[in-house]
Assembly symmetry: C2
Homo-oligomer: 750 residues x 2
């Protein structure tokens, strides 16, 4: 026991020491499919570009045929980039107080995510945008297979510990996620995702409790529960839309969408000189893009038809098993559900496959900005998810159960038709409930396995295999004749061992992609809005699932994935429209289900006029409820918006009093700190480091990496970045490594 | 003929000379119901307040017991107010280039409306807001019964002439209206109103031509025409929403809603110190306001019920006349329509009466800002207009025609029941068409009479009567004993005669109110969207009506009304929501009418399920069409928005290059002039005076009043403002006039 604690303490100390090396960014250079002279040429160019831009580079060998290139940004360059980025925020109206200074001002980043965003810009932006122009996996740099910032190991662990000890996350916790990871990951939103899943889960408590009560004490298909679900879903979506604005103000990111840069993948056809700004505008004809976008229609239709056929076959198989062979298989009841279970297991794979095709379609559409690309991709993903997730239930509820007994016998093989007296052939309403449970709830469990358990196992097995191989390779490399210096390059120095093994693991991890997670929540919301009435315990199941999911996702983010670049965002993105669409469809669907299954009459014998009237009334009720709820929310207003407006008003007032920016800005900064309760709450993460000495321990840890940094903060860092350079340049060291590793591989092969 | 021309030339010269007196603002002080010493006290205070604030005042007698108080703003004060107002625009993000200068900078206004807006602020804003605090008809100043800027007579006449010679107004014409009158009148929008009616009329050409074709060549209730109308109305509303944004950019007013000041009528219950700005916030509890707002519901319900009863009685009377006495009255066919005609004539009066009650309700609701007050008032006005305009047609179409033959006989007096064999009692579908024509088209004609002809006659008769009385009064005043100086006060100097007679007429004219006109257009749009299908010639009628209406309204604005203070606005206001609502209801109504009246079956024998299905499908089609049209408009985008964004981008780019406001702003101003075609088009009205020398004659006329003004531009003005002051102060002159007039009146009375 004693030794475990000691080991833990040691481990902790080790992690902290790793961060002392001041590695800002890591590039992974993979030369597996390159000739030796090509590889050395390309590596030379890479290091020359980085060093010419004024960044420090250091090289170590990675797993197999890869080189880890570590990058450090000189403090003045970084501080100036942070300042420029703040000026840009002010120019684009994202922040309202003008940052004082001139073109050479250097400031400290307020949060790790702000710092890393500036690092990200300096490394990846093109030279015209003011960066070194290294874009991984693309064009000239397609052999740079990974480009990431190392995790802030200590802060991560503490944050994970803090989150897992809490039942409900508070705004502070979200602020810390945001401070560490920013609002966005590559295309998708991290902090906003956590805020969303948290808010959604809290909201779920209402239908979960009322659902349980209705399940216990009311008859099935209760109209009251239907109304509760519909109103709840409208309230949630409208509330979230406002909450997003509050959060974007809290995190100072309102309106960051205005800062658009072209995607590097964007291929333009001609350049036009803008008559006002005199800038070259890169044009890709809109009609061509529209034509390419149309391709999605046949694809979606095809997917829909194919899926419908699969479903029909499943239903048929199930009908044959249960209704035809029912008596013979009475002892093996599980066999009856086999087709549905097979369907539930295979649906996520089908979705994944279709989404990957959609991704290629979106790439082909050649969008100019990431926002447009994201919009196109989310729209496609939503359509596909809608088809795979809801089509089975829609077919069951509206076609199979009410009409199946009339339609199905026609499709039965003639050999079987004789076995079933057609008039006896009857599908009961219970069928819908079984289908809903297996697809929505069992689906979540399967998803969890696929999302967490499988990748975890896969990754750890792979990692073990790689270590084993590297150990062999290392031994063999030692035995070969190399210059003394190459040998020291090939062997990790003892003090760097822990750092490098972490970085190697992170370099091979997959980048964190939150889009699937957000889409999963949308689908879950859709199940609840459209079919919650069928099984009132559904929201309870979702609530439990989300509690685990939130923590699982965070564990995955910090332990299993590359650290995402903290791109900013002010919303969870186009999914909001999907949610709104689902509330609308949910109201119609709930009304229809209530009419069809809730009444006393048989579900196979429905009066179409009555059904239509019900749905028509439901739609008007939906529109009226939505307008009312919007009106009420607008009347209530938002404290965050009011505070923001008051702050802006103050700046203006001061300006009109003094006609001077300096006085207006300074006094507002002063008073905002003194007065605003909101800003007080955020102070630990958004204000200057000096103000936050008294903050929570975990936060001061987070800020550790931001502390005003002299050229080298620690002796370890100074040694790490300078020792080797006395003997040779980074490019040369890299070339030696490439040659040594290639030679070994050729040796092994022959 | 010769002499007429001479007279016209003389008149023209006279008008121009009147403008040389440099009267910036006029207040009308009415002391009819004041004791003589109260009147003199109050007038003393008024002049003291004005002069203490640094404005020049001059007094002349008005009609009857009124004094004209003429105000002139010293050039430096005015120029500084214009500058401060521009700085405020920049601070609130309405303009994007920072105006250079400090707290004492003086600039020239770019348009008459900008100048008059600053004059308006200086005279009417409270002392805290930076004005003299003279608010007509309210509190301390409730004896100031009119407060206005004199019309720019010359520019007005030329503009009217220019407009009346054109069939279609171009954007330039609208720019000039905007330059003269601003975007808004008291609460409502002038330039936006003209832009709207112009755009709407142009759009009307589509349904007008297609309607005429359908009327000539197709059978009634054509489905195609129904679809044309519905799609047209959706396209128009969506287009206009975007057009509004374009116009607001063109006129540099985008986002002026942010500049809110409290209404002077706002009565707060407590003051709270804002924790951020330290300003006192005036609070009126929201729940009290909500409770007061609820009062409107019973009022609207009552109005609806009362109106329905009136309608029912009308229908009953008409049914009795035509169906019961039909044969006996066959020779007097007009008698049959008497009830409907009575209804059509009285509806505008009913609407006006209800709106005046609504106005008092809105006042009682105690809104803080003019925007909120306007919203509340327009919402009420829309509900009332909806009830009075559409209820008759809705009742006719959906109740009276289909069910009337079953229902009506029960309401017939028993004495008549015997006369009609119940089964013969039949109302035919033609009834609806007659009702639609009489309410929509005849309604417009009646409206025109009420709006233009009656007020015109009334005003001119009243004016003649006043002149006659003043002449008598003047004669009598002369005969009395007054000091020599009082006598010169009582008699208009020959060179001032023309100016003063104009100002007296303007002071008694009613302020221009455009709200009714906008609402009238909304109602017209509603008729077309909901019942256009009934009578395809309707849009043609509307088109003709609007062509006259636009010119009539402009004539009324410049000849029959006080000049409105040029308050800015960036939209036609909450009417947009009303238009959207009408497109929705129009789609449902058109579908229902097509199903009921368009088929071959009898209208009294309708299948409810079929009707429901039709309306349900129409609603989904409406939603889908709207989304599609929005999507297409968004894809097309707006040139004005793109230009604006490019200009902002340029400012930012320059700023990032130089880190200096001066360079960024100046170069953008430079280049915006050189490059932007949009700005070029606007240049005559929005740019500096120097640039517009080569502009159209009428524009240089408009700018005449803006030309850099030395302390006094003309000798006439200098004499006018200084001559009398050598003898006595303005307050004293006013007191003498009050005493003289009061004494005369007492003399007449006894």
């Amino acid at each position: 026991m004693q030794s475990t604690t000691t080991r833990l303490v040691n481990r902790q100390a080790e992690m902290e020491r790793d961060e002392d090396f001041e590695v800002d960014w890591v590039l992974l250079f993979d030369f597996e499919d390159l000739e030796i002279h090509h590889a050395t040429d390309k590596y030379h160019t890479l290091i020359r570009d980085i060093e010419a831009f004024g960044l420090e580079a250091e090289v170590r060998h990675g797993h197999g045929t890869t080189l880890l290139t570590l990058i450090r940004i000189p403090r003045n360059k970084l501080g100036n980039e942070v300042y420029r980025s703040r000026v840009k925020d002010w120019l684009f109206g994202i922040t309202h107080v003008r940052p004082l200074g001139d073109s050479s001002t250097v400031v400290d980043a307020a949060t790790p995510s702000e710092e890393i965003r500036s690092v990200f810009h300096l490394v990846t932006w093109t030279k015209e945008q003011g960066g070194a122009g290294v874009t991984a996996n693309f064009g000239q740099w397609r052999h740079v297979t990974a480009s990431f910032s190392p995790h802030a190991w200590t802060a991560n662990k503490r944050l994970l510990k803090q989150l897992s000890s809490k039942i409900v996350l508070r705004a502070d916790d979200l602020d810390q996620i945001k401070a560490l990871f920013g609002e966005k990951v590559s295309l998708h939103d991290v902090a906003f995702y956590y805020a969303f899943i948290q808010a959604y889960s809290l909201f779920l408590i209402v239908p979960a409790t009322s659902g349980t009560l209705f399940w216990l004490f009311s008859r099935p298909y209760s109209i009251t529960f239907g109304i509760v679900t519909c109103v709840w879903s409208i309230v949630f979506v409208e509330w979230w839309k406002r909450q997003e604005i509050d959060l974007s103000i809290r995190w100072d990111v309102k309106g960051v969408g205005a800062l658009k840069v072209n995607r590097v993948q964007y291929a333009w056809e001609k350049e036009e000189i803008d008559s006002i700004t005199g800038e070259a505008r890169k044009i890709f004809p809109a009609h061509k893009r529209a034509a390419r976008q149309l391709l999605f229609l046949p694809f979606a239709a095809l997917a829909g038809v194919a899926l419908s056929s699969v479903l029909m076959v499943t239903f048929l198989a199930e009908a044959i098993i249960s209704d035809v062979y029912g008596e013979e298989l009475a002892n093996f009841w599980a066999v009856q559900y086999l087709p549905t279970i097979l369907l539930a297991v295979s649906l996520p794979y089908i979705t994944e496959f279709l989404t990957s095709i959609a991704l290629r379609l979106s790439e082909y559409e050649n969008h100019r900005t990431n926002d447009e690309f994201e919009l196109a991709q989310v729209q496609k993903a939503f359509v596909l998810n809608f088809v795979t997730s809801f089509l089975p239930l829609i077919l069951t509820a509206y076609v199979y159960v009410p009409c199946g007994s009339k339609l199905l016998p026609n499709f039965l093989p003639t050999s079987l038709q004789s076995r079933v007296p057609v008039k006896n052939f009857h599908i009961d309403a219970h069928r819908l409930q079984e289908e809903v449970i297996s697809l929505s709830l069992a689906g979540q469990v399967i998803n969890f396995g696929e999302e967490f358990v499988l990748p975890f196992l896969k990754r750890h097995l792979l990692e073990a295999y790689r270590r084993y191989k590297d150990a062999q390779q290392g031994k063999s490399l030692h035995q070969r004749m190399h210059s003394e210096y190459t040998k020291t390059l090939l062997v990790d120095a003892p003090q760097e061992e822990s750092l490098l093994s972490r970085l190697r693991a992170e370099a091979t991890a997959t980048p964190y992609d939150v889009q699937e997670d957000i889409m999963e929540m949308c689908v879950q919301f859709g199940y609840l809005a459209m079919f919650g009435i069928v099984y009132p315990l559904m929201p309870l199941g979702f609530l439990i699932n989300n509690w685990i999911e939130l923590r699982g996702d965070f564990f995955k983010l910090i332990s299993e994935s590359q650290r995402p670049p903290p791109i900013r965002s002010d919303s969870i993105g186009p999914c909001i429209s999907a949610l709104e669409f689902l509330t609308w469809l949910g109201s119609l669907s709930t009304a229809a289900l209530l009419y069809m299954y809730g009444g006393n009459s048989d579900v196979t014998d429905i009066h179409l006029g009555g059904l239509l009237l019900t749905v028509f009334i439901a739609e008007q009720a939906y529109l009226a409820t939505k307008l009312t709820i919007r009106f009420i929310f607008d009347k209530i207003g938002s404290e965050a918006v009011r505070t923001e407006e008051a702050t802006r008003r103050l700046v203006r007032k001061r300006y009109l009093e003094t006609f001077s920016d300096e006085v207006a800005g300074a006094s507002v900064r002063q008073e905002a700190h003194t007065y605003t309760t909101l800003h007080k709450r955020c102070a630990p993460v958004i204000s200057d480091v000096e103000d936050s000495k008294e903050a929570l321990p975990v936060i001061s840890e987070v800020e550790e990496t931001v502390r005003v940094r002299s050229e080298y903060k620690t002796e370890r860092a100074e040694r790490f970045w300078n020792q080797r350079k006395e003997f040779m340049g980074t490019a040369e060291a890299g070339v030696r490594l490439i040659v040594a590793i290639k030679a070994f591989l050729i040796n092994v092969a022959t």
